[in-house]
């Protein structure tokens, strides 16, 4: 028992020493880092190397509540990249360089996970362009990383403010959320007017996430501009029981409901509405998903009959390439493409068309992100000169400086006979929009 006291004094001293050393090591690490760290900017590509591949990365939600969308987007991307590489022979102006899907990262269902996925995707594969991440809040998180690393990020997410944050390396072709809301309102009012249906009171029923709120704002703006009395009812998209909302609606007695669902709440609302015996003239959905996508129709069945919804993609647009792509998609995956796939269709073709032009404008460094952004900004695509425009609902793509498509717009589809049919802006051949709902 050689003096416990002395041993303990030693422990005390040692504790101080350990602390000191940890701090010293940390400081030394910082110093070493400052001395040896590589220059933070990625090395610019030197004179005209042979470009054989263009690395595309994807970050999509593959787990969690949103996995259904992410998976479809990835499926679509694989198809389009295959078409570009095989049918179109790669990027011809870059000597037939192929698009390579170097990595597909799971965005999960939370921004932290998405940001992590973006860090990993970039650190591991150094992609030239990243596509993702469908859910707006996840997209924003990934964009924080892509901006820092100067990787171009092509959104397939819709919330307005994604392009309002001053990011420099982002593009978005799809119509933003408020455009969905506005289109839905415009469509509902014009159809009601056309059919002589009274629209004295409109309820804007929306889930209360950022997305739903933006879509609703678009619809409300449109209603206010037309001086239509409206009431806004919100709920969380995690809602499990629409009973109380139905009671509210029973009290308000609206003629038209503009409904902004996410996905599963849409399924739930459609069922609750049918079960309630409530009668309104039209339920016009607005927003990316719900009601008219194959998943919803499958999940809800008859209850969703005659509901309409806006869509960032028009699967029945009668252009050559649209028909072709839809056909290929259906034959490969056994179901028609929904919105998540559609956005990927035109986004990837847009990127492809930009790449074709890049070697023309910047022969020395076509893949430099700054150069590439300039190329994208310079494109003005129409049905006549572009594949991507043929796949786009409005048939025209030109980017504003913030990365948004100036000519963005949506289609409106209605479920008729258990099938989603396009009724706006131009009904499919042989389709007549149904209003009021029977």
């Amino acid at each position: 028992m050689l003096g416990r006291g002395s041993k303990l004094a030693a422990v005390k001293i040692s504790a101080i020493i350990v602390t000191a050393i940890v701090v010293v090591v940390a400081v030394a690490g910082v110093a070493l880092y400052i001395l040896t760290a590589p220059a933070p900017t990625p090395t610019p590509t030197p004179t005209r190397p042979k470009i054989t591949e263009i690395r595309i990365g994807m970050i999509e939600p593959l787990t969690g509540k949103y996995a259904v969308f992410g998976k479809e987007a990835v499926d679509a991307a694989r198809l389009i990249i295959e078409i570009i590489n095989e049918e179109l022979g790669g990027v011809k102006s870059l000597g037939g360089a192929k698009l390579v899907l170097v990595g597909v990262e799971d965005a999960g269902e939370s921004p932290e996970v998405t940001a992590m996925a973006a860090e990993r995707l970039i650190a591991t594969h150094r992609p030239h362009i990243i596509v993702g991440a469908y859910i707006s809040r996840l997209t924003a998180a990934a964009a924080e990383v892509t901006e820092r690393e100067r990787v171009i990020f092509a959104f397939d997410a819709l919330v307005d403010w994604l392009t309002e944050r001053g990011w420099r390396y982002v593009i978005r072709l799809a119509p933003k959320a408020s455009a969905h809301g506005a289109t839905a309102a415009r469509f509902a009012l014009s159809l009601a007017k056309e059919r002589g249906v009274e629209a004295k009171k409109v309820v804007v029923l929306h889930e209360d996430s950022v997305f739903g709120t933006y879509v609703a704002t678009g619809a409300i703006r449109e209603l206010a501009a037309n001086r239509i009395p409206y009431e806004s009812v919100s709920y969380p998209y995690t809602i499990e029981d629409f009973g109380p909302i139905i009671s509210r609606l029973r009290e308000i007695k609206p003629d038209i409901i503009i409904s902004v669902p996410y996905f599963h709440d849409g399924v739930l609302f459609a069922k609750a509405y049918r079960a309630s015996g409530l009668k309104v003239k039209l339920i016009a959905g607005a927003g990316g998903c719900g009601y008219i996508d194959p998943g919803s129709i499958e999940a809800v069945g008859e209850a969703v009959e005659y509901f309409t919804n806006t869509l960032s993609y028009d699967p029945s647009r009668a252009t050559e390439w649209n028909k072709k792509v839809v056909e290929k998609y259906v034959s490969r995956y056994g179901k028609p493409p929904s919105e998540a796939a559609g956005i990927i269709f035109y986004t990837l073709f847009f990127i492809y068309e930009g790449l074709e032009k890049a070697s023309e404008m910047f022969p020395d460094d076509p893949l430099n992100p700054d150069n590439l952004m300039k190329v994208f900004m310079s494109l003005d695509l129409t049905d006549e000169n572009s594949i991507s425009a043929q796949l786009y609902p409005t048939g025209r793509i030109k980017l504003a400086p913030n990365g948004d498509n100036i000519y963005a717009g949506t289609a409106v589809l209605q479920v008729i006979g258990g099938k989603a049919r396009v009724v706006w802006p131009k009904p499919e051949p042989g389709v007549v929009p149904v209003c009021p709902m029977p």
């Binding site: 041993k7 050393i21 090591v25 992590m116």
Partner: protein, 332 residues
Amino acid sequence: MGGPTLKASRFGWLAPPLALAALCGLVPHMVGFNQYYILVATRIAIVASVALSWNIIGGLAGQLDLASSAYLGLGGILAAELMIKYGVTPWIGMLAGAAASAGVAFLIGYPLFRFGIREVWYALSTVALVVVLHELAIVLMGPFDYYVPPVEGWYYLRFRTWENLYYVSLVLLAFVIVVNLWVSRSKLGYYLKAIREDETAAEALGVDVRKYKLLALLIYATLVGFAGYLYVVTQRTYSYKTFSAPFSIYIAVIGIVGGLGSVDGILLAAAMLGMAEEYLRATFGGTLPGLHLLVYGLLLVTVGVLRPEGLATVTRRLLRPVRTRFLGGESA
């Protein structure tokens, strides 16, 4: 404790922590400044700090606290908001966050301990705290994500690349380890361990059980609240979802899997679980949705059922040769 080897061991026990510190300090160099790996390491360091803070209430005092995300969120969100709205440097914001967390901990802890609430009911109360804050935050902040604006520099404690924050997190981790060692070797630590073992017997030895449990809760909440801003920065966003019951459970799981009260075990568990989770997510997340969480769940079940004493015993076994060389015997 045998006498003969004591002399050799006077400073010998410093070797493993020193090696560890050196290893940690050099991580950015070892991974070639790959931002992804540095971020993973940073997050592991922060999670380990939180888990070791939890160790004071959960490991030493034996109270099944599942509210770490409540304190982390409070501290982080307060510091971030102060910075965004008033330009207050996070260095002050983190202190404010720590104080706010401690305040909330007192409000919840005082009545709980006063009414002698323990075990599953204490655990559920802390879950309830997280749920209440989560939903309160939806009402107050809306269902939005908030981003720390892209400001950079030491004033904002936010950088373009992750190395600096990694070192800050390491210093925080070192501080939490020192607090752990200090607490477990102080009167407070002995009293907390006695409370964990047997509250009634501890009381008969003159331990004011309520007071010391509250003290442990306050230390834990203060440390976690302080770490909040770093957490928010590495997560990039904060929102009502920052108050997350699963995250709180994750922290407790690290504490349990690592071994209650054991600093080395918890460090090891935080590192292993953190890396395993990220590896599984990155490797399988894209092909098989949910697989990483599934494996993580299975791991939890297996460790819990087969090795309920925690990883501490594994570390002990691994480190035994080192320990006997430098320490001259098993130490507690």
